[in-house]
């Protein structure tokens, strides 16, 4: 089964869009959660 279109340009465009979306989710949601959960909680109590 072929998910991506066979033509080169649409294929690259879809891949870039997916990559951009993935990066945005990581940067604004996943990484801040990882940071505050495992890396950075300098306050006491």
């Amino acid at each position: 089964m072929r998910i991506l279109p066979s033509k080169r340009l649409p294929r690259i465009a879809i891949l870039l869009a997916v990559l951009l979306g993935y990066s945005v989710v990581l940067w604004f949601f996943v990484f801040p959660w990882l940071d505050r959960t495992f890396i950075n909680r300098p306050a006491i109590g």
């Binding site: 990484f31 940071d35 959960t37 890396i39 306050a43 006491i44 109590g45």
Partner: protein, 209 residues
Amino acid sequence: MKALRRTGNVFIFLGLSILFFVLYELVGTSLVTKARQRDLQADFNAELSQPAALNPAFTGTLPVGTTRRSSVEALARLIIPKINVDVIVVEGVTLDRLSYGPGHYPQTKMFGEKGVAAVAGHRTGWSAPFFNLDQLTRGDVVTVETTKATYTYRVMDTTVVSPAHSEVLNGNPNSHAVQQLVLTTCTPKFTARDRLIVFTDLISAVPRR
């Protein structure tokens, strides 16, 4: 063979994602804090330059008509020469506030008041102002500059405790100093497992002239 290649691609993808996280932690967060510190430094310098700052009744609020660059109030300037720290302290220790710079624990005394003042700061990312806090040893000097006075503290002791040990905010149990400053940060580096505590005693307070 095809399955092996796909597995390899997955691992490459995961590796790149981890590298992306390192970039976020070490560069992305620090860029945010540096920009916020620039605004806070400008606000604090503006406050110090106001004649009102010389009045003992001055509370640190800028006069009407003066534009504040930061949305958060600059409380004091923390200087630790040994580890090249020169940052503006803000009020509060929530993670949002600590993204501006080191934060003063609201439940502790204010600098210059009798009792214990405490400040928390990041050790990883967010400009990591307390990255080298573990290098402080007995006798090192910590300076806090406010709109009212410059307070000089001397490091007396350091310790490592678990995050629940909030009694460290009551000050150094081995010190009889009337005014103390406690600095807290994460330890070991790059984890939030424990807290590194630095106890300091006030050795001088010079009012601003």
